[in-house]
């Protein structure tokens, strides 16, 4: 096993103890090299706790294990896509009710939103993450005695149902839509406080 010595002080002159070298401006630096307990643990070799930079890795990933991990990631992705679509379908009646002026049951709707948010996060679907996060913030933070605004729910649900039109990399129009929704919630919460 080859190791690379810590060269941080080599060739730079001797700095005063606990400070970077010379009489330079700025805050004094204190460098600390904690023992490499992780390497010592996983190798069961205590002498390796002084190794700061292992230049030649002895770790050989097990191919079968890697394949299992990749399969797990794919399965999780499929499960999240299914959950996302299913949960969004489930809240379609909420949207219809909103058109008739009926607000959703707060806790049950928040639960559905949490599921969608969680699945979107695992899929890294940024527009859905931000839409549901904004909706959840409205549901969890709005404290006024006045009823909640159906238009805010409708705006969020509109965006959620049309998620395929939004860019997962957040292009300018997508950013505009998401920022508008978040601003709506900001104002509603500020007014309710």
């Amino acid at each position: 096993m080859t190791t690379k010595a810590d060269k941080s002080d080599e060739g730079k002159g001797k700095p005063p103890s606990g400070q970077r070298s010379g009489n330079k401006k700025g805050d004094p630096c204190e460098f600390i090299n904690p023992p490499n307990l992780l390497l010592a643990k996983v190798t069961h070799d205590l002498s390796l706790k002084h190794v700061q930079n292992l230049t030649e890795s002895k770790f050989r990933p097990d191919k079968t294990r890697m394949q299992k991990m990749t399969k797990l990631i794919t399965q999780n992705e499929e499960r999240c896509v299914a959950t996302l679509n299913e949960k969004i379908k489930q809240i379609e009646p909420v949207y219809r009710d909103l058109q008739n002026g009926t607000l959703p049951a707060r806790e049950a709707f928040a639960d559905d939103c949490k599921h969608i948010y969680g699945a979107a996060k695992a899929l890294d679907h940024m527009p859905v993450i931000r839409i549901t996060a904004s909706l959840l913030r409205y549901l969890q933070t709005y404290k006024s005695d006045k009823p909640m605004d159906p238009a805010i729910f409708s705006a969020h649900l509109d965006a959620l149902f049309n998620r395929n039109a939004l860019d997962v990399r957040l292009d300018a129009p997508t950013k505009l839509v998401l920022t508008a929704l978040e601003t709506l919630v900001d104002h509603a919460i500020a007014a309710s406080a």
Binding site: S8, L38, K41, T43, Q52, K58, M69, R79, G118
Partner: protein, 180 residues
């Protein structure tokens, strides 16, 4: 050392994320990697409490969570005087890959940054990296965490690395990479 593999079963890891799907995924992936114990928490506040109880060897955290986000969680881990191990390696797993976010993570004391979507290879690489190449720590002003300069500059040996003299030297040197 005769073994060609590491015994990861001796390690305890902790993963903090508000998505139950991510918690399950990362938990299962770390177990598949060979770790015997993986603790999970839904946000920074719960994570901090669990961290003090379990003292894991490795932390993986998401960035955006409520009420305590990943950045504040990392800051508390590094700065809290009651923390049993402020040197613990922290990998931030996030979909926010903008440079400003990565720099923020670095300035809060994150050891490695891992972009979503996570792959088996990228997760494995980061975990092995924090084992084989732990970062030197630095305490300067209000900052305490891994040294934000990842490599020693082999070309410039002067005192003031960001000074004019150093910059002139670095113009002909593309090899210097920065932390995270």
């Amino acid at each position: 050392m005769s073994s060609t593999d590491y015994d990861l079963s001796v390690l305890t890891a902790m993963f903090v994320d508000d998505s139950p799907y991510m918690r399950k995924l990362i938990h299962d992936l770390l177990i598949l990697m060979g770790m015997s114990k993986v603790v999970t928490a839904a946000d920074g506040e719960v994570g901090l409490k669990l961290y003090k109880e379990q003292v894991p060897d490795l932390l993986i955290t998401d960035a955006s969570m409520a009420p305590m986000d990943g950045f504040e969680f990392v800051r508390r881990i590094r700065m809290d005087p009651d923390n049993p191990n402020p040197f613990v390696p922290i990998i931030m797993l996030s979909g926010h890959v903008e440079m400003s976010n990565i720099e923020k993570a670095r300035d809060y004391g994150v050891t490695e940054y891992l972009a979503k979507p996570v792959s088996a290879q990228s997760l494995m690489t980061r975990v092995i990296s924090v084992i084989e190449r732990p970062r030197q720590f630095v305490k300067v002003g209000p900052y305490f965490g891994p040294d934000r300069r990842r490599h020693t500059d082999d070309v410039y040996f002067g005192d003031d690395k960001r000074g004019e003299e150093a910059l002139q030297t670095q113009q002909s040197d593309d090899g210097d990479t920065w932390a995270i």
